[in-house]
Amino acid sequence: MIASSPTSPAERNQLSGSSAEQRLTYRPNVDVATCDDILVLIADIPGSSASAIDVQVEDGVLSIDAAVPARSLPGTAVRREYGIGGYQRSFQIGADFDASQTAATYRNGVLTIRVPRLAAEQPRTIPITAG
């Protein structure tokens, strides 16, 4: 039902010599669940901020685009196990969800997006007349 887009941005943990200048884009780890007719997406996006994250739902595709400002630590690098850059990812969620009701929160480096399902049509009872 919920498919990740086939984009393949730079591999996480792939390090280059001058990563301070080079802006890489990473693919965040994401949990997806549905609960009570609400679609919940949880993404690890450390080092960003609420104002730097852009979440859009368009044509059944939910996309996350998060900017992460460069962090300058003093001195010389002794060990580099990860690079710093923005995060991008998109998901096909289909037309069953109400994009206008999308809510997103950012806390502790984790982005949580909730999209409620469109109100289902009420089941119709068809009266049967005897004739």
């Binding site: 039902m1 943990n13 009570d36 690098a77 990860y82 950012y106 502790n108």
Partner: protein
């Protein structure tokens, strides 16, 4: 019949473990270090380390980990990061509390569980003044170098 020496694992045991792991990866959250072998357990979190004349600065990405769930200890030139990340809270705070619906997972990539990472720093540090800050899922630990390990300027006198 094939005889196996004591202490040698049967090759099929490995296969079974792999199959278990594959199955688990479809139904449960991964451990924090990902679906890799247990030996990689020490590899979370990834760490960047910087050094100045006065300090050693350690940075790690720990999204979704509360400061209360994190324990940092130092000993000599070693820093240990220990903590855990719990199941994500899927039910929002604005849904009624009596709502006890269980979530149906479609994708689980964010690891949960415990981690311990021990790291040797380039020099001895002064444990009294170590400062740690966790903001937006990024941990920064600033460790002042021990006095004996800081560069000292030697004045040259002429006679």
């Amino acid at each position: 019949m094939q005889l196996l020496r004591v202490g040698y694992a049967h090759p099929l045991e490995d296969l079974r473990d792999e199959m278990d792991r594959l199955w688990n990866s479809l139904t449960t959250a991964p451990p924090l270090h990902g679906w890799t072998r247990q030996s990689a357990k020490e590899a979370f979190p990834a760490i960047n380390l910087f050094e100045t004349a006065e300090t050693v600065v350690l940075e790690a990405e720990l999204p979704g980990i509360d400061p209360d769930a994190l324990e940092i200890t130092t000993l000599g030139d070693e820093v240990t990061l220990k903590g855990h990340r719990d199941e994500p809270d899927v039910l929002s705070q604005d849904t009624p509390t009596e709502n006890t619906a269980t979530p149906t997972w479609h994708r689980r990539e964010r690891g949960i569980g415990e981690f311990v990472r021990r790291l040797s720093l380039p020099t001895l540090i002064d444990p009294e003044d170590v400062e740690a800050r966790l903001q937006d899922g990024v941990l920064t630990v600033t460790c002042p170098k021990a006095a004996a390990c800081r560069p000292r300027k030697v004045t040259v006198t002429s006679t």
